[in-house]
C-alpha cells in the first residue's frame, strides 16, 4: 500500500511573512485573557474556593430541577447552583462555602440530603474545606511555576540561553491562553484544570523542542544562511511532523471528549483547545521569538557527521 503524503516533499510556507501576524494574534489572546480576568475573573471550583459539590441521579425519570431548587433554596445555604449534568436524570448541585468552618459544610450537606429526600441516588459528593482549598491553590500555583522554570532550565542546558528564554515565553503564552479560555467561557477552574494546563505545557514544549532541535541542527549545517531564512526552513522541515503528531493526539483526545463521560469533559475540552494553541505557539511564537534575541551561531567546530548525534545513545 502506498502511504498518503499530507505535505509536499519540501513545503515552503512563508512562515516568517506571518511572523508579525502570529505574534499579534498571540498578543490579542493575552489581551483578551487580561480583560476577561479583570472583568469577570475565574470561576473557581470547589477545589480552590471550598464548598460542596453533589451529583445526584433521579431514580424516577428526568430530574425536576426547578422543584429541587425550590426544596434546597429554603435551607438558607447561600448560593446553590443546579445544572443538568450529562443526562436529563443527572443533576450537579454546588453549594457555596458555608460560614463557620469545616463543621458547617457537613451540616449543609446533611440539610441538602434531607431536603431532596428519597427518589435520588447520590453519585458523587465532593467537599473541600477552606483550609484544604488554600493549600490546593498554593500547590497548584507552585506546580505550574516550577514546571515552567524546570523546563526552561532543561532547554537552556541542552541548547543556548536564548532557546530557554523563548521556550519559557512560549509556555507562558500557552498557560495564559489556557487561563483565558477558562475565564472567557467561565468554565470551572479546578484541580483538573491545573493538570490540563501542565499537560499542555508539556505537550507544547515537546513541539517547541522539536523545532528548536532542527534550528540548532541547521545552524551547524548552513553556516552562511540568513537566520530568518533558516528558521523558516526549519519550520517547514518539521511542519509535517508537527501537524501529524497534533493530528493523532487530537484524534485520541476527541474520542475521549466525545465518549469519556461528563466528568472529564471539561478537562478534555481544555486539552483540545490547548493542543491547538500549543501547536500554534510552537510554529508562530517559539521560532520567531528567537530572531528577536540575538541568536549566535555555535562556535566553529569541525563539521562532524550528523549520525554521531545519535551515537551517544
Amino acid at each position: 500500500m502506498r502511504p498518503i503524503q499530507f505535505f509536499a516533499d519540501s513545503p515552503k510556507v512563508p512562515f516568517m511573512k506571518y511572523k508579525n501576524a502570529g505574534l499579534a494574534f498571540a498578543g490579542l489572546l493575552m489581551l483578551i485573557t487580561l480583560v476577561s480576568l479583570v472583568i469577570q475573573g475565574l470561576n473557581f471550583g470547589i477545589d480552590f474556593r471550598g464548598g460542596t459539590l453533589i451529583e445526584v441521579r433521579s431514580t424516577q425519570g428526568p430530574a425536576d430541577i426547578p422543584a429541587m431548587r425550590n426544596k434546597v433554596n429554603g435551607l438558607g445555604l447561600g448560593e446553590v447552583s443546579m445544572q443538568e449534568f450529562g443526562a436529563p436524570t443527572d443533576v450537579l448541585i454546588r453549594v457555596q462555602q458555608q460560614d463557620g468552618g469545616e463543621q458547617a459544610q457537613q451540616v449543609a450537606v446533611e440539610a441538602v440530603r434531607g431536603a431532596l429526600g428519597e427518589g435520588v441516588e447520590y453519585r458523587r459528593v465532593e467537599f473541600v474545606g477552606p483550609k484544604v482549598g488554600e493549600e490546593l491553590i498554593t500547590y497548584g500555583t507552585l506546580a505550574v511555576v516550577l514546571a515552567l522554570l524546570a523546563i526552561m532550565l532543561y532547554v537552556w542546558f541542552r541548547f543556548e540561553w536564548q532557546f530557554g528564554v523563548c521556550a519559557l515565553l512560549t509556555l507562558l503564552h500557552d498557560v495564559i491562553a489556557m487561563i483565558g479560555l477558562y475565564s472567557v467561557l467561565q468554565l470551572e477552574f479546578s484541580l483538573s484544570t491545573v493538570a490540563a494546563i501542565l499537560t499542555i505545557a508539556g505537550y507544547s514544549i515537546n513541539d517547541t523542542v522539536v523545532v528548536y532541535d532542527r534550528i540548532r541542527e541547521n545552524l551547524r549545517k548552513y553556516k552562511k544562511m540568513d537566520l530568518r531564512e533558516l528558521c523558516e526552513l526549519s519550520l517547514n522541515e518539521t511542519l509535517s511532523r508537527t501537524v501529524l503528531t497534533s493530528g493523532t493526539t487530537l484524534l485520541a483526545i476527541i474520542a475521549l471528549f466525545a465518549f469519556g463521560g461528563p466528568v472529564i469533559r471539561e478537562f478534555t475540552g481544555a486539552l483540545i483547545f490547548g493542543i491547538v494553541i500549543g501547536t500554534f505557539s510552537s510554529i508562530f511564537i517559539s521560532a520567531p521569538l528567537l530572531l528577536n534575541l540575538n541568536l549566535r551561531r555555535p562556535p566553529d567546530k569541525p563539521v562532524k557527521d550528523e549520525t554521531a548525534v545519535g551515537a551517544q545513545v
Binding site: 500500500m1 502506498r2 502511504p3 498518503i4 503524503q5 499530507f6 519540501s10 441521579r57 468552618g101 463543621q103 457537613q106 447520590y122 453519585r123 458523587r124 459528593v125 465532593e126 467537599f127 473541600v128 474545606g129 484544604v132 490546593l136 500547590y139 497548584g140 507552585l142 506546580a143 516550577l146 514546571a147 532543561y154 541542552r158 483538573s192 493538570a195 501542565l198 499537560t199 508539556g202 514544549i205 515537546n206 522539536v210 532541535d213 509535517s240 501529524l244 493523532t248 493526539t249 487530537l250 484524534l251 485520541a252 476527541i254 474520542a255 475521549l256 466525545a258 465518549f259 469519556g260 463521560g261 466528568v263 472529564i264 478537562f267 486539552l271 550528523e306 549520525t307 548525534v309 545519535g310
Partner: protein, 525 residues
C-alpha cells in the same frame, strides 16, 4: 544498521515478554489470579476510588483541643495545689498558650514553682510584673502529647472503621496532624462520617439535686455543676431538655471493657461492662447515692439520667435512651472502640457512588478503544507499512503501560485514563519523528538502509529532548498533585517512558528484521 547486537534483541524481547506477563492478570477475574502459582505475576491494576466507587476522607485531629485540655488540667492542678498551700491568688485562667494568675503577695512565685514542678516537671513558672505569674507547659511535652493524640486517633479511627465491617480500608497519617481515610465501595459514607465525627467520651456524673435547676437556667449555675443539654432533639432542632449535672466525674467511660447492643423490654439498649476498677468505683458511688439520678453523658450531652434504685455492684448495666436499633449499634460500637483523644474535623471529602464509577470505567474504555482505532487507521494511511510497524509498537506500548501500572500497584484514576489516551496520541510522535526523518533522507537520495539508519540516529536526540521536557512537567504534577491528578501524572510519565522504549527499540528492531529479509530497493514510506 543491519547489525543489531544479540544482547539488545534479547533485552527488548525480555521486556516485551515481561510486559505481557504482568499485564495478563488484568484479563481475568481477581478470583482466578488468586489460584495461580505465586511465581506468576498476579497483581491487577489498582482502581482509584473515582472508578471503583468509595469515599476519600481527609481528617484533621484538632490538636489545639489537646493543648487546651492540657492547659485546663494545669489550671485544675494549680487551683488545688494553691488552695492546699493556702496561697492567695486571683484571675487564674488560660491566656493563649499559657496559664496565668495574679498572686496576692509578691515573692510567692518561688513557692508556686516549687509546688507545681514537684507535681509536673513539664511546667515552667515565670514571674511577671506586679505578682503576675505565667505557667507554661514545655514545648517538647506539648508536641509529644499532640503526637500521641494523633497516633491514638489513627488507632481509634481504625478500630471504629473495622467495627463497621468496611473491606480494605486505607488509614494513613498525612503530614503533622492529618489522617487520610480511603474506603472503597461503601454506599453510606454518612454513617462513617457520623461515627468518626464523635469524640465519644462517655462519663457517668451525678445529677445535681441540691440546687435549683430553674436558678441555673436563669444564669445562676452553681460553681460545682454545669447545665448540659439532652441528646434528644425536639422537632425545632433544639435539645428537648437541660440537666443540671455535677462537674465531678463519677466513673469515666475509659474503664468500660465491653458494650453491646441488645433489647430490654423490646426497646433497643446498650449493655456495658466495667473493668474491675470501674466496677468497684461504680459500685461505691451507686451504693452511696441510692434514690438520686445520675446522668450518662456522651460528648457533653446527656443520653439519659436514670434514678439509682439500688447499688449496682456487678460492674455491668444498660443504657437506654430512646434509641433506634442503628443508634444502639453505633453507640455500642463507639464505646467499644474507645474515645478519641481530640475531635476530628473533616477537611475534604470525595465520595463516588458505585454507579458513577462503573459508568466512568465503561466510558473510559470506549474512549480509549476508539482513540486507539483512530490513531491506528491514521498511521496506516500516513505511513503505510511503517505505519503498521508503529501500530505494533503502539499496542506493545499500551501493554507495557498496563503492566507497569499493575507491577507498581499504582492507582488508575479517571484522569489517569485520560493520561493513557493522551499517551496513545503522543506515543506515535516518536515514530512520526523517525519516519519523517527517513522520508527526508530518502528524498536527499540516500539508499534505504542508510536512510533508515540516519533517520533513527538523527531523531533520537530530538525524541529524548522532547519527551524529557514533558516528563519534567509530569513529575511536578505528581509531586504537587493530589488524588486523581496524581493518577494522571503517573500514567503520563509511565506512558512517556514506554513510548520512548517502543519507538527507539521495538520499531527499530522490527524495521531491521524487515530490512534483512526483503532488502528493498526503495522504501514504501
Amino acid at each position: 544498521m543491519l547489525h543489531f547486537p544479540k544482547w539488545k534483541i534479547v533485552l527488548i524481547l525480555t521486556i516485551c515478554f515481561l510486559g505481557f506477563a504482568y499485564a495478563a492478570p488484568n484479563l481475568v477475574d481477581r478470583s482466578v489470579t488468586e489460584t495461580w502459582s505465586r511465581w506468576l505475576p498476579s497483581q491487577q491494576i489498582n482502581l482509584g476510588l473515582d472508578l471503583r466507587g468509595g469515599s476519600h476522607l481527609l481528617l484533621e485531629v484538632d490538636v489545639d483541643a489537646v493543648t487546651r485540655e492540657r492547659l485546663e488540667s494545669v489550671v485544675d492542678i494549680t487551683r488545688t495545689e494553691l488552695r492546699k498551700a493556702r496561697i492567695g491568688y486571683t484571675g487564674l485562667g488560660i491566656d493563649g498558650e499559657a496559664v496565668v494568675l495574679q498572686s496576692r503577695e509578691s515573692g510567692q512565685v518561688d513557692e508556686i514553682r516549687r509546688l507545681l514542678s514537684a507535681i509536673d516537671p513539664d511546667l515552667t513558672v515565670e514571674a511577671g510584673e506586679g505578682g503576675r505569674v505565667t505557667i507554661r507547659v514545655s514545648e517538647t511535652a506539648l508536641t509529644a502529647r499532640k503526637q500521641a493524640a494523633v497516633e491514638q486517633s489513627i488507632e481509634i479511627v481504625r478500630r471504629r472503621i473495622d467495627e463497621t465491617g468496611t473491606r480494605e480500608p486505607t488509614i494513613q497519617r498525612q503530614g503533622e496532624d492529618r489522617i487520610l481515610v480511603q474506603l472503597p465501595g461503601i454506599d453510606d459514607p454518612e454513617r462513617i462520617k457520623a461515627l468518626l465525627g464523635q469524640t465519644a467520651k462517655m462519663v457517668f456524673r451525678l445529677v445535681d439535686t441540691q440546687n435549683s435547676q430553674a436558678d441555673a437556667m436563669a444564669g445562676r449555675v452553681p460553681p460545682g455543676s454545669q447545665l448540659l443539654p439532652s441528646d434528644q432533639v425536639g422537632p425545632d432542632g433544639r435539645p428537648q431538655q437541660q440537666y443540671l449535672v455535677e462537674r465531678r466525674v463519677m466513673v469515666s467511660g475509659d474503664t468500660l471493657v465491653d458494650a453491646q447492643p441488645t433489647f430490654n423490654n423490646g426497646e433497643p439498649v446498650v449493655s456495658f461492662r466495667f473493668d474491675s476498677v470501674g466496677a468497684k468505683r461504680f459500685g461505691d458511688v451507686t451504693a452511696g447515692n441510692v434514690g438520686r439520678p445520675f446522668a450518662i453523658v456522651l460528648d457533653d450531652k446527656v443520653i439519659s439520667a436514670p434514678v439509682i434504685r439500688e447499688p449496682i455492684l456487678g460492674g455491668s448495666g444498660v443504657i437506654s435512651g430512646n434509641f433506634t436499633v442503628q443508634e444502639a449499634q453505633d453507640l455500642a460500637l463507639l464505646l467499644r472502640a474507645g474515645a478519641l483523644p481530640a475531635p476530628l474535623v473533616v477537611l475534604e471529602e470525595r465520595t463516588v457512588g458505585p454507579g458513577l464509577g462503573a459508568d466512568s470505567i465503561a466510558a473510559g474504555e470506549i474512549a480509549a478503544v476508539l482513540g486507539m482505532v483512530a490513531v491506528v487507521v491514521f498511521m496506516v494511511i500516513a505511513y503505510g507499512l511503517f505505519g503498521i510497524i508503529a501500530n505494533v509498537a503502539l499496542v506493545i506500548n499500551l501493554v507495557l503501560i498496563v503492566a507497569a501500572l499493575s507491577a507498581l500497584q499504582a492507582t488508575l484514576t479517571l484522569p489517569g485514563i485520560a493520561g493513557i489516551v493522551l499517551t496513545i496520541g503522543m506515543a506515535v510522535d516518536a515514530n512520526v519523528l523517525v519516519f519523517e526523518r527517513i522520508r527526508e533522507e530518502t528524498r536527499n537520495g540516500r539508499p534505504p538502509v542508510s536512510a533508515i539508519d540516519a533517520g533513527y540516529n538523527r531523531a533520537i536526540s530530538t525524541i529524548i529532548d522532547s519527551n524529557l521536557t514533558t516528563f519534567i512537567a509530569a513529575v511536578l504534577l505528581y509531586i504537587f498533585g493530589s488524588g486523581p491528578i496524581r493518577g494522571f501524572a503517573v500514567t503520563l510519565s509511565i506512558g512517556l517512558l514506554t513510548s520512548m522504549f517502543t519507538a527507539i527499540m521495538v520499531t527499530r528492531l522490527i524495521v531491521v528484521m524487515w530490512l534483512r529479509r526483503t532488502r528493498p530497493k526503495t522504501l514504501p514510506i
